[in-house]
């Protein structure tokens, strides 16, 4: 029997492939940002590893769709009610949708990352084995980032506008995740604060691994799993609370 959630993943993949404009927008954004900041790093002779770091972190961040907007829109318009009438879990549905879209972007942007990074630096960052393991880390990273996005979306049940939270998430990714400025540049205090958040485990860790600067893989996996459990737990608890207090207006 064809599982309904797996069907959602399949439909999302087909839908993302059909939305060529959106894909094109992501590609342009990727190339512009990577090129721009690679120029910044090249002008200060930062080295090829910095450029690869930048290409990888951007690849991972841009692979995730802004699912928080979608959830917020559903809640604001009241469409979420129709999902509640059906025999499926709304957030799990959105997660599967997110995974379908992310898969397409992950693959396309992954090829762009490898190709563009090679064009800018003239060499790959590490061995094929490291890159393959790095690929798995990247997938886990995308899953965690998606869960974070869904958590922000759930706040739409309380907040009329979640755009500030989305921007804050983006900035926290930039700052604490080492999106463009690596964590090695920070002071000890700021680095400690960063590691207390889930962001470094989503970006800095996979990027550092793939550029050959291998942090403790086992420890990192454990911390990563821990953060996934925490965010998932928060989502479940908040969503339950939201459903109890949900009020839908209009006539």
């Amino acid at each position: 029997m064809h599982n309904k959630y797996w069907a959602t993943v399949e439909i999302s993949i087909r839908q993302q492939l059909a939305q060529k404009g959106q894909l094109l927008g992501r590609l342009i954004l990727y190339f512009v940002i990577v090129y721009l900041f690679s120029q910044v790093f090249q002008s200060v002779s930062a080295g090829n590893n910095r450029i690869w770091y930048l290409a990888i972190t951007e690849w991972l961040t841009l692979s995730t769709p802004p699912i928080a907007y979608r959830i917020a829109e559903d809640i604001r318009s009241g469409q979420v009610v129709y999902f509640m009438l059906r025999p499926l879990h709304y957030l799990w549905l959105r997660f599967c949708e997110c995974m379908g879209i992310s898969l397409v972007r992950f693959i396309i942007l992954g090829f762009c990352c490898l190709g563009f990074g090679y064009y800018l630096t003239g060499a790959f960052p590490s061995s094929s084995t490291t890159l393959t393991i790095g690929l798995v880390l990247g997938i886990l990273s995308v899953i965690l980032y998606s869960l974070l996005s869904i958590l922000i979306g759930v706040f739409s049940f309380w907040l009329k506008e979640i755009q500030p939270l989305i921007y804050l998430n983006l900035t926290a990714t930039f700052c604490f995740g080492g999106l463009i400025v690596p964590l090695g540049f920070y002071s000890d205090t700021l680095r400690t604060i960063s590691f207390a958040t889930p962001y470094p485990w989503m970006l800095w860790w996979p990027a550092e691994y793939m550029t050959g600067t291998a942090p403790n893989l086992m420890l990192a996996f454990l911390v990563f799993a821990g953060w996934t459990a925490v965010i998932l737990g928060l989502i479940i608890i908040l969503y339950q609370k939201c459903l109890e207090n949900f009020v839908s207006e209009g006539g």
Binding site: Q19, G21, Q22, L24, G25, R26, I28, L29, V32, I33, Y35, L36, F37, Q39, V40, S43, V44, A46, L159, K160, E161, Q163, P164, L165, Y167, L168, T171, A172, F174, C175, F176, I180, V181, F185, Y186, S187, L190
Partner: protein, 279 residues
């Protein structure tokens, strides 16, 4: 005959004055309606301001560490970066506070929601732009000014900084309008346009390495953010008037281009071919 002409001239002048006053009154009413709407959602209003300030602090902290490691990047130091970033922040804040409708314009075009505005006897661009306002963007305005003040340029040349901020605001308005026009020619483009907006703002607020190589062509032509970032800051750094002139002329030209593109797109919207078989 001369009395009749004077009488006619009086009526025309009176009519133009009335028309102008009515337009100002309309824009003021729209602005106050948006303001009241923002205050009606009090929690979101204050929350947004706090988050905005926090966001800017985090962002600039990261860049501070970057510039601590590499003091100068292509002639730009941390203060130049602060000025560039601050002016984009301020301009974006003003546009979001008063002309937030521009961000929704692509969706309105796609869904045929421009009809309501076309039925009203007011300038379509301004009516659409001011149909929504996010007063919580005052957080961006305040942090923009704070960042520019911290850079030291406001104390050094206050008049020039104010000129740059005015030009920057007109530019960001034109940029959002310009990119929104893509929706007239490309279907399902709302997400694409949102990404392009983000692109443009990121490029505009970064150090001036954007203005060489392949990106130079882009930032001087198709996406002319050089007029809001590179030229004004080069003027303040070097004192050469040509940079300010380029910035002013470029902004004015871009404003004209954006409006022309909108009118062209509107003709296509009126032809109905955007929504072809939906009638």
């Amino acid at each position: 005959m001369s009395n009749h002409f004077k009488h006619h001239k009086y009526h025309v002048k009176h009519h133009i004055n009335d028309h102008f006053k009515n337009h100002i009154k309309f824009l003021y009413t729209l602005m106050m309606t948006n303001f009241r709407l923002s205050l009606a959602l009090k929690g979101t209003f204050y929350f947004t301001i706090i988050i905005t300030i926090l966001k800017q602090v985090l962002f600039l902290t990261a860049w501070r560490f970057f510039f601590l490691k590499y003091q100068v990047v292509q002639g730009w130091n941390f203060n130049s970066m602060l000025l560039g970033y601050g002016s984009v922040c301020f301009s974006m804040g003003v546009v979001e506070a008063f002309f937030y409708g521009l961000k929704d314009l692509p969706r309105m075009i796609e869904n045929g929601q421009l009809d309501t505005f076309l039925l009203q006897p007011k300038n379509v661009v301004l009516n659409v732009a001011m149909s929504k306002g996010d007063m919580a963007s005052f957080g961006e305005i305040v942090t923009g000014i704070a960042v520019i003040t911290y850079s030291g340029y406001l104390e050094q040349s206050p008049l020039m900084v104010i000129t740059i901020l005015i030009l920057g605001t007109i530019f960001i308005f034109s940029l959002l309008l310009y990119l929104s026009c893509i929706a007239f020619f490309m279907k399902d483009s709302f997400d694409f346009i949102r990404e392009l907006n983000l692109n443009a703002i990121i490029v505009a607020s970064q150090p001036n390495v954007a203005y060489r190589g392949l990106l130079k062509m882009l930032t001087f032509t198709i996406l002319p953010v050089a007029f809001i970032s590179f030229f004004p800051i080069e003027y303040l750094r070097t004192g050469l008037w040509k940079y300010l002139l380029f910035s002013a002329l470029g902004t004015a030209a871009f404003f004209a281009v954006a409006n022309a593109l909108f009118n062209l797109g509107l003709k296509r919207y009126e032809s109905g071919n955007i929504i072809a078989f939906r009638h």
